[in-house]
């Protein structure tokens, strides 16, 4: 039997400690204080999340206008019909999904790789942690300004670098085929730190003796990563992916500030379409219908993901 095959036996596989008693609270006495402690959160949650969401769904069936009080005339499914037949709606939905496709893989994979490297660094580990996490604390407007400067045609740093290497200067934010990639690149730099920290925390939860045992058995570093680190981090990965998909679907700030949804609408995401319809065009009823459709999309994506990970976890 080879060493790796040995390690692959079920007994050696990392097992999560499961204590059946801690999974359910059976004592009735705890319920009351629990609700009491939850009240401040629940009040705010009802007032600012659940309430407005219900109002949004109601409003989506009316021709509500920003400039008139009340809900306005009943529109039935008219707003939904208009949205589903509008090429602008579908284009903006696709831009949101395209951005998600462009950003989720690098934000998950790079965060993992950098966390792994930072975890291995023996000296100056604090510096690497700080360096990767620092961009994340920037407000979106600051991050956008930095990258607008970097991307500025004729004068920007990136353009200068590319032209000094002998290439033509790409029109980073002005080319409809490139603009979304540029936004995605800036976003990866900006938000990588969050996933990085989650992975770093996950890495520190892996017992060191697993690695010791593996190396005593002759496992190479790459085998250790593949057979220990990645499986032990599977829950972190599920969490990172689902958080990242939702964060990427929420894209608004970057195109709103950096490209105004342009060039020629090439980067206008669903939320900016909602903004344009609701606040620029005063059609809050229609904007509510588009928001509801977007809500359904996010819900569907999250549901599919939860379903897939549940199955994966049951398989473990």
């Amino acid at each position: 039997m080879t060493i790796t095959a040995d390690y692959e036996t079920a007994e050696d596989r990392p097992v999560r400690p499961v204590d059946p008693d801690t999974t359910r609270v059976t004592e009735h006495g705890h319920a009351k204080p629990a609700w009491l402690f939850l009240t401040p959160f629940l009040v705010l949650y009802l007032l600012f999340i659940i309430g407005p969401s219900i109002y949004m769904v109601v409003m989506s069936f009316f021709d509500t206008s920003l400039t008139r009080p009340g809900l306005g005339a009943l529109a039935g499914f008219g707003n939904y019909g208009e949205a589903l037949t509008s090429p602008d709606f579908w284009a903006s939905m696709w831009h949101t999904i395209w951005f998600t496709i462009l950003t989720v893989p690098p934000l998950v994979i790079l965060a993992f790789v950098f966390a792994l490297l930072a975890d291995r660094a023996t000296r100056g580990r604090w510096f690497f942690r700080l360096a990767f996490f620092l961009p994340y604390i920037l407000p979106s407007a600051v991050m956008a300004l930095i990258w607008i400067w970097l991307y500025t045609p004729e004068l920007g740093l990136l353009g200068k670098v590319v032209t000094s290497l002998g290439f033509d200067e790409p029109n980073w934010l002005g080319d409809p085929n490139l603009a979304m990639w540029s936004l995605a690149f800036a976003t990866v730099w900006w938000t990588l730190g969050f996933n990085f920290v989650l992975y770093l925390a996950g890495l520190q939860d892996i017992p060191r003796d697993l690695y010791e045992a593996a190396s005593m058995d002759g496992a190479s570093p790459w085998q250790q990563v593949r057979r220990i680190t990645i499986p032990m981090l599977s829950r972190t990965t599920s969490l990172v992916i689902v958080l990242q998909i939702i964060a990427s679907l929420k894209i608004f700030d970057q195109p709103y500030i950096m490209t105004s949804g342009g060039p020629n609408f090439a980067t206008r995401p669903a939320l900016e379409y909602v903004y344009d319809m609701g606040f620029t065009n005063f059609r809050t009823g229609y904007a509510a219908a588009v928001s509801t459709l977007f809500f359904i999309l996010v819900l569907a994506v999250s549901a599919v993901w939860v379903f897939l990970t549940r199955r994966q976890e049951q398989g473990l």
Binding site: L66, R68, T152, P153, D175, T259, N264, T280, F282
Partner: protein
């Protein structure tokens, strides 16, 4: 060292802070809004959207009003420019907590009026404060009327203008003996002037914002298209009357400047276009006159003049006006209207201060004064006020509107070489038709 703060101390502190804040808030607009009470009667509550140099000048005008009217407290609120401003103004008025006086672009005021959010201003009330129709620039005044009724008092006209670097244009031989730009007439003369400047700068003839900037391409297009006598919308925005031949002519010309002759950069944003002009990489810059302060601060040799009459028809140039409005419900308290009109008159009387920011005063006693005529470069393009073309009427039109975004996106794409003029016109037509056929939400 400070020891760990106990939870109880923290809570106590937080409650004390909240209490103090709520007490202090009672007399402020925020407090009045939360409590649902009126602001002190006799106060003028004034909202505006001016930042930068305009913001500084507006504050000095407000201070002058305060000094002259010590008995009338002035509560001035400056909000972020653009859609957020109009959203807040609309919601405050719908929610019956409007300011007494507010700034609005003339092209936006029409939408507010059709939503029934403005008080009509009666000529007899205006006369009491020394204001009447003939004392204003007629173009701006008439553009602000709705069905012959007055809803807004224009304070200026802010046209699209041509900035030029006097040193570069002098080297290119484009200046007359007095050091002013020689008149440029016709598309060939304009192209030629840009080419001469390009030889001096080695980079570009002119610049204007294209990337992430839909307003500037629209302003340039509208200027040239209006010189051909073209219109985009009619019947309050319910009909698209775009003239394909004229639009093609303008778009083809714009494309030749950027894509074919490379006299203007085809991919530059608003700030980049300003920077290229300021550092001498271009001798001309097309923008609204409000950027005057930027170039004055840059201490560069420049002047400003009318955008040339490229297509030779009746001279026309894209412009808008800042107006002062009284939102519905903003004058219900006894004597409030007179306070508001007195404030408006005070702003008009200080038009000379306002003109420092590049704006052409709508108030004729100042616009016709010797002092303004001596003010350069403002007086060079003062004629633009009489040739001003405002955005067409329509609920989706006006400054920063979806109409400007639809037009500017397609025009910018032509200038960047991403769309042919034909494709751009087809795109404009399809997007505008969708808006034109939508029932007005206002």
């Amino acid at each position: 060292m400070i020891g760990p703060v106990s939870r109880r101390t923290l809570l106590k502190g937080a409650f004390a802070g909240l209490g103090a804040a709520s007490l202090a808030a009672c007399s402020s607009p925020v407090g009045a809004g939360i409590a649902g009470s009126q602001l002190d009667p006799g106060t003028v509550d004034y909202w505006n959207l001016f930042g930068g140099g305009d913001g500084v000048r507006m504050q000095s005008m407000e201070d002058a009003y305060r000094k002259a009217n010590p008995g009338t407290p002035l509560q001035a609120v400056t909000l972020a420019w653009g859609n957020p401003y109009y959203t807040k103004l609309t919601l405050a008025t719908v929610g019956r907590k409007p300011p007494n006086v507010a700034v609005s672009h003339l092209t936006r005021m029409k939408t507010l009026q059709s939503a029934d959010l403005l008080e009509e201003l009666k000529p007899e009330d205006l006369a009491r404060h020394g204001m009447s129709a003939e004392m204003f620039n007629q173009r701006a005044w008439n553009a602000g009327l709705v069905g012959g009724k007055i809803y807004a008092i224009p304070i200026d006209t802010h046209p699209f203008v041509l900035f030029y670097n006097t040193k570069i244009c002098g080297q290119a031989g484009l200046l007359d003996a007095a050091g002013a730009l020689k008149p440029i007439q016709g598309p060939d003369a304009f192209t030629d002037a840009l080419a001469k400047v390009q030889k001096v700068t080695g980079q570009y003839g002119a610049t204007h914002g294209i990337n992430a900037d839909t307003a500037t391409p629209w302003r340039f297009f509208q200027t040239l298209y209006s010189q051909l006598g073209g219109q985009v919308l009619s019947d309050e925005g319910t009909k698209v009357v775009l003239d394909d031949a004229k639009a093609t002519q303008v778009l083809t010309f714009l494309r030749s400047l950027t894509v074919e002759k490379k006299l203007m950069p085809s991919s530059i944003d608003y700030q980049g276009a300003i920077a290229l002009f300021a550092n001498g990489a271009a001798g001309f810059h097309l923008n609204g006159e409000w950027e005057i302060s930027t170039f004055q601060t840059a201490k560069m040799p420049f002047s400003m003049t009318l955008v040339p009459n490229v297509f030779g028809g009746t001279y026309a140039v894209q412009a808008d006006s800042h107006t002062l409005i009284v939102p519905r419900g903003g004058a219900t308290a006894e004597g409030q209207l007179d306070l508001s009109l007195g404030f408006i008159k005070s702003m008009l009387d200080q038009s000379m201060t306002w003109a420092q920011g590049g704006h052409i005063p709508a108030w004729q006693p100042v616009a016709q004064s010797d002092a303004f005529k001596k003010l350069t470069p403002q007086s060079n393009y003062a004629a633009a006020a009489d040739a001003a073309v405002y955005d067409p009427s329509g609920w989706y039109s006006g400054s920063g509107s979806n109409f400007e975004i639809v037009m500017g996106s397609a025009i910018g794409a032509v200038e960047a070489g991403q769309l042919s003029p034909d494709a751009a016109i087809a795109q404009i037509r399809s997007k505008l038709s969708a808006l034109a056929s939508t029932a007005s939400p206002v």
